[in-house]
């Protein structure tokens, strides 16, 4: 693939997009983890 020259501004926006994706994925993982813990702890006394 040919190399595409990005301007400094374009590089800055790209790295910001990358950081946003990383933060979004991390947040989703944490939320799913916490929801799982809350669900399990809600059922831990054995009542259905």
């Amino acid at each position: 693939m040919p190399e595409i020259d990005l301007s400094p501004e374009e590089k800055k926006q790209r790295s910001q997009r990358n950081v946003a994706i990383a933060l979004g994925l991390t947040a989703f993982i944490i939320v799913v983890f916490l929801v799982t813990i809350l669900k399990i702890s809600g059922n831990i006394d054995g009542t259905p």
Binding site: A20, L34, V35
Partner: protein, 302 residues
């Protein structure tokens, strides 16, 4: 397919966030919160952490449908003054990325709601997204002046989804909240369409003013306003609302009717009365739901 020049390398996270229609999302979060708190005040129980995760899922689901709407309606948005600054018409986000972004967030939000609450709520959220994107955006918006009447169901569903998230079911009171937003939508959007008529006509969207004419639209706004004012006090009849709610909904309902009457009697092409009704309609919905929320929080914690 599109002649929008791409500037996508300049797109920042905020442009993707703008795809989620943050202002619509904030109203969705608010009405959903009221539905959830009302369910809890009515005896349902949900852990605060799971309630927060459920509200997050509903908000992201609403945002996802906003992104899918912007993907589908990019051609319309590009010719309307109100929407031309959205990320796709600006060339900042390619259409295909908006579609992918919207689909991914739709799937994640429905899955998260299923995890955090139950399948009834998750199913309702999936239906809401489907209704807004497929039934409203793809089908009705370009084909009938009843577009926003029927499409309004999508915007009216969030309190029902949230009620189901807390309780696992959707009783009559939840559907009364649905009915209030549903009946509120036509006068709200037609008031906007009356002072943005040229916009919609240029875009070829069959909104009521440019199909049935201005005076017919004004009559229909008034008819819906009467139904809305009546539905607005219904929560008091079923016990969902108390005296604070009754007072709020009566006063704001009277104000809504008065402004709708002014629109009805306003001279042709005048923009002032529709603008006032549009602005007041947002305040109206906020006031009614805030009154319910205040009563329920008082009942729960005082």
């Amino acid at each position: 397919m599109t002649d929008i020049p791409t500037r996508s390398a300049f797109a920042g996270p905020k442009d993707y966030f703008a795809l989620l229609k943050p202002r619509v999302m904030s109203l969705v979060i608010f009405t959903a919160l009221v539905g959830m708190v009302a369910a809890v005040a009515g005896g349902a129980s949900i852990q605060p952490g799971l309630a927060a995760a459920s509200l997050l899922a509903i908000a992201v689901g609403a945002g996802a449908s906003g992104a899918l709407n912007m993907w589908w309606d990019a051609d319309i948005d590009a010719v309307m003054a109100r929407t031309v600054s959205r990320p796709i018409p600006q060339g900042l986000v390619p259409k295909s990325e908006a579609a992918g972004f919207g689909l991914l967030l739709s799937a994640l939000s429905v899955a998260l709601l299923a995890l955090a609450s139950n399948y009834v709520a998750a199913g309702l959220l999936a239906f809401t997204i489907f209704f807004y994107v497929v039934i409203y955006s793809m089908w009705l918006k370009r084909s009938t002046p009843q577009n926003i009447v029927i499409g309004g169901a999508a915007g009216a569903l969030p309190p029902v989804v949230a009620w189901a998230a807390a309780s696992g079911s959707a009783p009559l009171d939840a559907w009364i909240l649905f009915l209030i937003i549903f009946l509120w939508t036509p006068p709200h959007f037609w008031a906007l369409a009356l002072y943005r008529e040229g916009d919609y006509a240029r875009a070829g969207v069959p909104m009521m003013p440019n199909v049935a004419g201005e005076s017919s639209t004004k009559r229909q706004i008034f008819s819906y306003s009467i139904m809305l004012a009546v539905a607005g006090v219904a929560p008091y009849a079923t016990g969902l609302g108390d005296v604070l709610y009754l007072a709020t909904s009566s006063a704001f309902g009277a104000g809504f009717l008065m402004l709708a009457w002014r629109v009805l009697k306003s001279p042709p092409k005048s923009k002032e009365a529709p603008k006032q009704l549009f602005a007041f309609s947002i305040l109206y919905l906020f006031a009614l739901f805030a009154a319910l929320l205040a009563e329920d929080l008082f009942a729960l914690y005082a």
